[in-house]
Subunit: 169 residues, 2 copies
DNA sequence: CGAGTGATTGTATAACATAACGCAATCCGG
DNA sequence: CCGGATTGCGTTATGTTATACAATCACTCG
């Protein structure tokens, strides 16, 4: 049967299709604004890397990004891309998917610095979802043992709706 | 002899000290039993790798394990250790800490195949903790979007009780 | 015995990541 | 505008993590 929630398109952070050109423009401008406000230098390399990640809209290895980047005339050595990725990740404009050793543009800059991710093992699509509830649960356990949590990685691996339909186990 | 120990140790899964020799023996024998029951081949290499992980009692890179392993006269090439680690991880006898690209022996074989971890960034100690509650929360969100979760990585990074006390920020 | 299965090993290479250096652009107080 | 401080960029080199591929060994089942 149909799923219950036909939800808002512009905030879509799941696996549904969306207007891609629009989502790129929106994300770029959101990041631009945040950089301006925060006195951060949104340099050409950083901008290019973010654009690459947004355009692909999936987790990319650093070297895949680098390939694109150098094709655009930027430096072609690993440190170039790693520095840009560090900048983007540390300011919440992109995320590192630890499970894949790969990077993805943030789907909603400014909303949640450390979301949870759902990774489709078939098509490698990665969807972002709020992680606050799960983090709270974990925080309770940690607190009891005296552990101070600074950051939590939450990554679910499985099969996305599209792939489950296409190739039912 | 010193063999007699308060049994606080056998259930310890946090940061507290414990009887290490006892915990190694207990874990090895638990794994041995499970392999026998399940028809799994607990070969010398696999046994040696698990022993190394248990002895160190912290997350180790594959190449650190390999060094120990080859010092014991086993093969000294990466695939040797990766195969053994794959076996241990896939059967729940060890875990991969994605955040560190490192491996650690399971603290409670048979109890929870995919626990959550608390990683101390100061001393690199890793504690295992049940993750069921947090996974449930996430499962609810995933279900709503049609994503089928097969495995969830939950890794909290922070400061353990011991280190927080030693160097309070 | 002989075929099949699964483990072990080794070679080679792929993929991911950082150290260290010097130059260039940018920022900022004077 | 000038000059120093800071930050980013490009490059060389290297370190670390992981897998593809193929040959060999050992055990089991028919």
């Amino acid at each position: 049967m149909m799923a219950s929630t036909p939800n808002q398109s512009s905030l879509q952070r799941g696996f549904a299709k969306h207007d891609h050109a629009d989502c790129i423009v929106a994300a770029m401008s959101a990041v631009e604004t945040q950089c301006a406000d925060g006195g951060l230098r949104f340099t050409p390399v950083r901008r290019a890397v973010l654009e690459i990640l947004l355009r692909e809209h999936r987790a990319m290895g650093a070297y895949a990004v680098l390939e694109d980047l150098s094709a655009q005339g930027f430096g072609s050595q690993p440190p170039v891309v790693y520095r840009a990725l560090d900048f983007l990740v540390s300011h919440g404009f992109a995320h590192k998917i630890e499970r894949l050793n790969a990077f993805i543009a943030c789907a909603a800059p400014g909303h949640d610095d450390t979301p949870a991710f759902m990774i489709c093992r078939v098509c490698d699509t990665v969807a972002e979802t709020p992680s606050a509830p799960a983090r709270e649960e974990l925080g309770r356990v940690a607190e009891a043992s005296g552990f101070v949590i600074e950051r939590t990685v939450i990554e679910a691996e499985g099969v996305c709706p599209g792939c489950a339909e296409a190739a039912p186990e």
